[in-house]
């Protein structure tokens, strides 16, 4: 018999950001009703798993949580991330053919540095999964396709300089929706040029254009990239009834996308039409993953032909797709020095606003342009909450593939920073040794976690 599709349904019925926030207990309630009433968990093609907790180290491997992991995560976060790891293990071991972590809270807006909650996210579930799969199971190349209406800026941030992670996001144009990023010129850093691809879409785009993006960009690029593992960051707010987004995708459109993408795993992200979209979308995606007939799944207020595509907007998307295809095909011959400038480091300045927690962060990110490895990363960040002194941190990341010279330089930078008065916290994230250090100036104390 064909292998099963693994499901973890973790609706976190006892967790909310606040009582009336879209990210609250009720969000997956109707999804539960629908999939339980359909008897989905009894289908021979489905295997349900129990969630587990991610460890603090699993989080520290990916994020610089300020001041430490425990202060940014609730148990619900650890369970959501842990659920993704649980299914990841099952897929890699061959126990199941693919999996869907239908979990809350979501995570794709959580960046490498976490001063607080932004876009309903603290911890990036997909990123935690990616680094876990690489560390624990030795996978190398991983593709993440983000189908949320909001740009997956956190995921992009974490893998912007990582040539082994392909990140493709299609979403409503950042000029019209949170977080205001994800334009087609954001293509990855000098060490990973072309492995970040963004398709911003004007409001009102529907299934037909999604199909165009899938057929002409996503599927061929993934085929080229030839990843060991494909993750769908399965946001569902491109649906026509979503209160936050302005797009016109249907459950059928999402299911077709899932069937064509054929991901190893899907991890639930946003989607706030909790009654009109989520029950139907989640059901359709589960059926598509299990390769079952999803043609009977229909939103009650939908009829075929309800939406017609606006030709002008659609052609705008087609042009973006053409442009990105071109970038992808020519990425290896691109003039990197011309794009990013000469010198040993590439540096960019970032301003990040935490819309949920009202924090303003200023960040300088430096990546070492190394020809032997993907280069280490330095982050200097200052987080400001109106009512108290800003928190300043310095952080270093050593990538999985680090060369000896880069590793040495990275540790030097870490030790130097520990001596500097201006940093409250100094972090070292050594992915090559799977060791994370966290130095707190006030206590003159260094914590470490190891995998």
């Amino acid at each position: 018999m064909e292998k099963k599709t693994g499901l973890i349904f973790f609706p976190a019925f006892d967790w909310a950001i606040s009582p009336t926030h879209p990210e609250r207990e009720e969000r997956l309630l109707y999804t539960r009703d629908q999939i339980f009433e359909e008897g989905v968990m009894d289908l021979p093609q489905i295997r349900e798993y129990a969630p587990r907790l991610a460890s603090l180290h699993d989080i520290a491997r990916v994020h610089f949580c300020v001041p430490r992991v425990q202060s940014q995560v609730t148990e619900a976060h650890l369970i959501a991330a842990g659920s993704a790891l649980q299914l990841g293990d099952a897929v890699v071991s061959g126990e199941i053919k693919n999996g869907f972590a239908m979990v809350r809270p979501p995570g794709h807006h959580a960046m490498r540095t976490v001063h607080g909650n932004r876009g309903f996210c603290n911890i990036n579930n997909e990123a935690v999964l990616v680094d876990y799969l690489r560390r624990r199971h030795g996978l190398k190349r991983i593709a993440i396709i983000d189908s949320d209406v909001h740009h997956g800026d956190g995921t992009q941030d974490i893998f912007y300089h990582d040539p082994d992670v392909l990140f493709i996001s299609f979403h409503q144009d950042g000029r019209t929706i949170f977080p205001g990023t994800g334009f087609s010129h954001e293509l990855g850093g000098p060490q990973a040029y072309g492995t970040t691809l963004n398709v911003p879409m004007p409001p009102g785009i529907g299934d037909e254009t999604l199909e165009y993006i899938v057929d002409n960009l996503i599927v061929p690029v993934i085929k080229d990239f030839n990843p060991d593992f494909i993750i769908n960051s399965a946001g569902q707010d491109n649906h026509y009834s979503d209160p936050l987004g302005s797009m016109r995708f249907t459950a059928r459109g999402y299911a077709d996308f899932t069937r064509k993408l054929n991901p190893d795993m899907a991890v639930l992200e946003g989607g706030y039409a909790i009654e009109t979209a989520l029950p139907y979308l989640n059901l359709a995606i589960i059926l598509a993953l299990a390769r079952l007939d999803y043609s009977y799944v229909l939103e009650p207020d939908y009829w075929p032909g309800r939406f017609t595509e606006n030709a002008e907007r659609a052609s705008k998307v087609h042009r973006t797709v053409d442009y990105l295809r071109d970038v992808w095909e020519k990425r290896n011959s691109a003039d990197i020095d011309n794009i990013f400038g000469k010198g040993n480091f590439y540096q960019r300045k970032k301003f990040i606003y935490y819309d949920t927690d009202y924090i303003e962060e200023e960040q300088i990110e430096k990546v070492k342009k190394c020809s032997n490895c993907t280069g280490y990363l330095l982050v200097e960040s200052r987080g400001e909450r109106g009512y108290r002194a800003p928190v300043r941190i310095f952080a270093v990341t050593v990538p999985f593939s680090a060369c000896e010279a880069c590793q040495q330089e990275a540790y030097d930078a870490y030790h130097q920073a520990k001596k500097k008065e201006q940093y409250d916290y100094v972090y070292m994230q050594d992915k090559s040794l799977d060791t994370c250090l966290n130095y707190e100036r006030d206590k003159n104390h260094e914590w470490s976690t190891e995998g």
Binding site: F13, Y30, Q34, E38, G39, A50, P279, Y296
Partner: protein
């Protein structure tokens, strides 16, 4: 005095309990005519005791299980209203099935109206095909039963003799396919079950017993026999429930134990965690059908004393079949019982024949009969121990939907392994050793089932769902729904309402026990927010009378 009777496939057991002691017990062969075996066992256990001293009788029976497994019931036609969702290809239940248009959503709002003409056609076709029993089941009918009621009314109007069952009255939990099966099986077995109930009541009154009579359900609770005709399928698997409760009564309170009932062809396992039997997280499965019937978590392993053993190449293998009695008792093939006989762990059958059986297995592998017997025993022990471990692991890995549930997850291992049934004596101590637990073979083990029935208590539960935005509430177990126009309905009011319904159900079932202790199994409140304003609440509240047993069995009494 209390009477417990277990009508099993092979034996019918009865016990008479007097102030917590087993005063008498009986074991007779189960005959074709259930009633006569029942009376025979009863008469033996009641010898010298007048019927008017009996305060209560509890029965457990495999009757309905057997009816279903052997398909000895009248065909049932299905009228299904699944609406959109899973492909209708999934709804094939090996019987005349008519799918008609119409749909409710998860909050009980009509999204597709019933189409009268297609409903009429389905009803006519069913009648033409000769169905006298019809089950009508709609998706989300527990949230809104209007479509089911409409179809049923039309059926009854056209064919007054037709027996009609509606899904929402049989099972209120979510899971449409399971509701279809539960409704179909209820419809299929009701008539025969009613006949059985009538004969039991008549027979008992002939013996001068007019005490209340109960039947044991799969979840270890009881129902008054006359009321149980509404839900015959609740009585499936009352046998394993009886043996589990029996062990609970025969062991000290609060223990974590595994119940191992080693029979001829199967070994039944059940768990008692910190003193209470573990309920399965999903409804019971029977004859390849998944139902909504709440049941104890029991598992049947296809290995027993009479399983046949064979040498294949250099391996010795146990099969799950039985080809008659063990070799030592004149059977055709070696069995685990023969191994026990060789090792001196049983006195059944002829020792020489047992040796002969083990020798035929072991000789080609250069093993003495004793070594072969050891090998066979170890195979049985390993198989059963592995299944026990698996049951614990599965219990630990059951899904959880709330943060506290995930954090609460316990890891527990048995402190005792309790053996009942024929093969228990030979294997229990070694199974226990494998699991690092103490072996226990309690007194009265041979009639543990009947003891379990005798000590079982009635249980009642109520699941209340309130949707204040839409202004209605429903009681899952009753298939009841009613308007509720109080927008400020509070959680406390919801709890009170659930308790009130628990009381109502107690009255309905003639349980004059006062509902003092109400256990809250689940209380959930969801705010419904529209445009950042709370517009209503959904309360999901599940209450029950405490589960438990009458008491633990002390010393005294004797087995006859």
């Amino acid at each position: 005095m209390f009477i417990g009777i277990d009508v099993g496939g092979t034996f019918t057991d009865a016990v008479l309990l007097d102030r917590g002691c087993v005063r008498a017990s009986a074991k007779v062969q189960t005959k074709e005519d259930l009633l006569s075996s029942l009376l025979e066992a009863l008469d033996k256990a009641m010898k010298g005791v007048s019927g008017d001293l009996v305060e209560r009788v509890v029965l457990s029976t495999t009757m309905i299980t057997n009816l279903i497994v052997e398909k000895k019931y009248d065909p049932v036609g299905l009228i299904l209203i699944p609406g959109p969702g899973l492909s209708h290809q999934h709804y094939q239940f090996n019987t005349g099935t008519y799918i008609i248009p119409g749909a409710m959503d998860y909050r009980g709002r009509e999204i597709i109206p019933l189409r009268r003409q297609e409903m009429e056609n389905a009803i006519m076709d069913l009648a033409d095909d000769g169905y006298k029993n019809v089950a009508v089941v709609g998706k989300f009918s527990s949230r809104n039963n209007r479509h089911e009621k409409e179809v049923a009314a039309r059926l009854r109007w056209n064919y007054p003799d037709c027996q009609v069952e509606m899904g929402h009255q049989v099972a209120g939990q979510l899971n449409f396919p399971r509701r279809v099966v539960s409704t179909m099986l209820t419809c299929a077995t009701r008539e025969k079950y009613e006949y059985f109930v009538d004969s039991v009541i008549t027979a008992l009154s002939k013996r001068g017993i007019d005490a209340p009579v109960f039947i044991l359900k799969a979840d270890g609770g009881t129902l008054p026999l006359p009321c149980s005709t509404r839900v015959p399928i609740e009585t499936i698997f009352s046998g394993p429930a009886a043996s589990t409760l029996g062990v609970q009564a025969l062991t000290p309170p609060g223990e974590t134990s595994v119940v191992v009932d080693i029979g001829g062809t199967t070994t039944d396992l059940a768990l008692i965690l910190s003193g209470s039997p573990l309920l399965a997280s999903k409804g019971a499965a029977i004859d390849d059908y998944l139902t909504h019937v709440r049941a104890l978590a029991v598992k049947s392993v296809p290995v027993g004393g009479d399983s046949i053993v064979e040498r294949v190449g250099k391996e010795i293998i146990i099969y799950s079949e039985r080809l008659g009695p063990p070799y030592c008792q004149g059977g055709p093939m070696p069995t685990p019982t023969d191994a026990l006989r060789v090792l001196g762990l049983t006195r059944l059958g002829d020792e020489d024949r047992a040796r002969e059986a083990m020798d035929s297995l072991g000789a080609p592998l250069g093993m003495s009969p004793g070594e072969a017997a050891n090998k066979v025993c170890n195979l049985v022990i390993d198989t059963i121990s592995a299944e026990i471990q698996l049951m614990f692991t599965q219990w630990e890995q059951e899904p959880a939907y709330r943060v506290w549930e995930v954090l609460e997850k316990r890891k527990e291992r048995p402190s005792t392994v309790v053996g009942v049934g024929g093969g228990a004596a030979g294997f229990i101590s070694q199974i226990a050793a494998t699991l690092g637990a103490y072996p226990v073979i309690p007194p009265y083990a041979p009639v543990a089932n009947a003891i379990g029935a005798a000590v079982a208590l009635p249980t009642l539960e109520v699941t209340l769902r309130v949707d204040t935005e839409q202004g209605y509430y429903s009681i899952e177990e009753e298939g009841f729904q009613e308007a509720l126009d109080d927008a400020n309905f509070t959680e406390q009011q919801a709890l009170d309402l659930a308790s009130k319904w628990l009381g109502k159900r107690a009255d309905k079932y003639g349980l004059n026990q006062r509902i003092e202790d109400v256990e809250i199994i689940r209380r959930e409140v969801f705010n419904m927010v529209r445009n950042w304003v709370t517009t209503g609440k959904i309360y999901d509240i599940h209450v029950q009378t405490p589960r438990g047993i009458l008491g633990h069995i002390g010393a005294g009494g004797e087995i006859k």
